[in-house]
Subunit: 315 residues, 2 copies
C-alpha cells in the first residue's frame, strides 16, 4: 500500500499520560510527512519506530500549543542526530520567528537548513509538488489562522500487459515507458496498436485529508472530494454545539457530514475533549450519518480500504 | 520529612521512550519547586501525581532544550487549568523573551501573571526567600550561562519540652512563641528560667543542591557544604574526560569528588550520556570516592537520610 498513516497522538489541549497531543506521520509514495507536532511527538515517533532521517517535510496546521510545542524539540534532536538534508516546514505566518527565536536562545548548532514556507492565503493552494505527490492546503475556520492539508498521489503510470506486449515482437524495451504513459504503439511499418490493448489500468492513487482544528466548514468538501481517508476533528458531541461554535471546533455529527458530502472512503475522528471518557459516544453520533467512521488509537496505523472493497462501498 | 525530591527525568540531550529529559519536583517545607523542565515534563508531573496548582516557582538551570523545552507546554496547561496565582520563573537572561515570544505566536490567553526573574550574575546570590526556605544560585561552568540551585530550609524553631514547661505554672501559652525562638523565660518576680531547660533541639533543617549541567567546578563546594542531598550531573566516565571538558560536562568521578569535598549526605548522579546502557558503571566509578552515591530512577522519590544515620555516616 502506498499510503500509510500513523496516528502519533490525537488528544486535545492538555497532554495526558496515555494520549499525546496531535501529531501524525503520513507515508505516501515513500515520502515521510509529519503533520502537526504537539509536545512529545519525538518520543511518539520513537515508539512508532519511525526513521527520523526520512522526515524532511513537516506540515503544521496552526500555532496552538497542542499542535506545535513538540517542533522545537524534534528539530533539536534532528540536529543532535546529525541531519544534513534541508527540513521544510509549512505552517502559518509566524512559525519562522516562533522557531528561530527558540533556536537563538538555546544556542542550537544547526547542522542543516530549515526552509520555512509560511502560509497566509485564505484560499486553497498547492504548496508542495514533486514527481509523485501533491499537497494542497484546506483552509479551516478556527480561532486562529489554520489550514488542513490534502495529500494526494499523482496518477500512476499504466501497467504493461506483458502477455499482450510479447505478442508483438516489434515492441522493444525502450518503448515501454511510452506505453506506461498511455501512448499507442506506432510500428515502423505504420501500423498502430492501441495502448488499451497493451497496458492495464494503473494502480490507484491514494489521498489523505487532515482537517484539524476547525468549525463545521462545508466549503472544504470540493477540495477533499473522494478522498480515501479523512481525519476530521470531533472535539464535542452535538449537545455541545454552542461550545463547538464558540471554541472553533466541530462535533462528531459535523465531521460525519463532511465525510458524507465528500464521499470519503473512511473517516477517522480525533481531537476529543477530555470530558469524554468513553469515546464510543463519538461513533454513536457519527455512524448513522457516515458508516465507515472509526476512532483512532494511539500509534494506530491506517491504510485506505483495498480498491475493490472501497468501490463496493461507494457504489 | 520536610524535603522530598521526585526525579521526573534525568536523561541527557535526546528524550527517549523510557527516560525523560531533566526535570525535578522538590517539595521543601510544603513549597513545591520545579527544577528544570525538559520536553514532556507536564506528563511526568501527571505520572508523579503532582498537584499542578501548587507549583508557583520554577527554576531553570540553563536554556538548552533538554532542560527547558517543556516549559511553554506546562505554562499553557496551567492556563487551561485556570491557574490564577502568579508563576515565578527563575532562569538565565533571555528566558522571558524565549517564553513570551512563544505565548505571543500561540495567542495564549494568560489567566495568571508570569514573573520572570532573569539571572546573569556569575557569583552565587540569594534569589528567593520566605519565612521557611531560601534558594541560592550555584554558578556552574557549561557551554552557556548556567546555574545550579541550592534549596535550604531556614533553621526551625526549638520544640517545647512540655513536661518541663508544665513544672512552671507561671509560663503561659502566650509565652511559648518566645521560648520556641530561643529566649529564656523571665517571670514577673524577676527569676529567669533558661531556654535550654524548657525546650528541645529543633528538627533538622534540610537542604538540597541541584548541579547540572557543568564541568568539574570545585569552587562550588563552599556553597553546598554539608548539603543533605546533592544531585550532580555525570554525563561521562573518566575515560572520556576530554569529551567531558569539551562539551562542558562532568564525569562520575568528578561528581563524587564534589560530593566528598562538600561532605554531602547523599549523591544522586544523573544526565548520563546515551552511550551508557548499564548505568552501574557510573556507580563503579563514583562509589570508591563517595560511598553514598546512588543512581536515580524515573519518578523515583528521594529523602535525606534520617538524622541519626546521617550523623553516623559523617563521623
Amino acid at each position: 500500500m502506498s499510503l500509510k498513516l500513523t496516528i502519533l497522538g490525537f488528544n486535545s489541549a492538555i497532554p495526558k499520560k496515555r494520549s499525546a497531543p496531535t501529531a501524525q506521520l503520513l507515508e505516501i509514495a515513500n515520502r515521510h510527512f509529519l503533520i502537526d507536532c504537539g509536545e512529545g511527538t519525538q518520543v511518539q515517533l520513537r515508539k512508532a519506530k519511525a526513521k527520523f532521517s526520512k522526515i524532511n517535510h513537516i506540515f503544521i496546521s496552526h500555532l496552538h500549543g497542542d499542535h506545535v510545542f513538540g517542533l522545537i524539540g524534534l528539530i533539536s534532536t534532528l540536529q543532535l542526530l546529525g541531519k544534513e538534508t534541508p527540513l521544510y516546514i509549512f505552517g502559518p505566518k509566524g512559525i519562522q520567528d516562533f522557531i528561530l527565536n527558540q533556536l537563538k536562545h538555546t544556542q542550537a548548532r544547526c547542522t542543516f537548513d530549515i526552509v520555512f514556507e509560511e502560509l497566509e492565503n485564505k484560499k486553497t493552494e498547492k504548496i508542495f509538488e514533486d514527481d509523485k505527490v501533491e499537497v494542497h492546503t484546506i483552509p479551516l475556520n478556527h480561532r486562529i489562522y489554520t489550514n488542513g492539508y490534502l495529500f494526494k498521489e499523482k496518477p500512476k503510470k499504466r501497467k504493461l500487459n506483458i502477455d499482450a506486449v510479447k505478442n508483438h515482437p516489434e515492441i522493444q524495451v525502450c518503448d515501454y515507458e511510452n506505453l506506461k504513459c498511455g501512448k499507442d504503439f506506432q510500428s515502423e511499418n505504420g501500423t498502430t496498436i492501441s495502448n488499451a490493448e497493451l497496458t492495464l489500468e494503473p494502480e490507484k492513487s491514494f489521498s489523505y485529508a487532515f482537517c484539524s482544528d476547525t468549525r463545521f466548514k462545508p466549503d472544504i468538501v470540493p477540495i477533499i472530494k473522494n478522498v480515501d481517508i479523512l481525519y476530521h476533528e470531533a472535539t464535542f458531541l452535538s449537545d455541545l454545539q454552542e461550545m463547538a461554535d464558540y471554541t472553533g471546533h466541530s462535533t462528531a455529527k459535523e465531521a460525519a457530514m463532511i465525510a458524507k458530502e465528500a464521499n470519503a472512503g473512511k473517516l477517522i475522528l480525533g481531537h476529543f475533549s477530555n470530558r469524554y471518557k468513553d469515546l464510543n459516544v463519538m461513533l454513536d453520533e457519527a455512524k448513522p450519518i457516515f458508516e465507515n467512521t472509526i476512532l483512532p488509537t494511539q500509534l494506530g496505523v491506517y491504510e485506505p480500504e483495498i480498491h475493490a472493497i472501497k468501490m463496493d462501498i461507494k457504489t
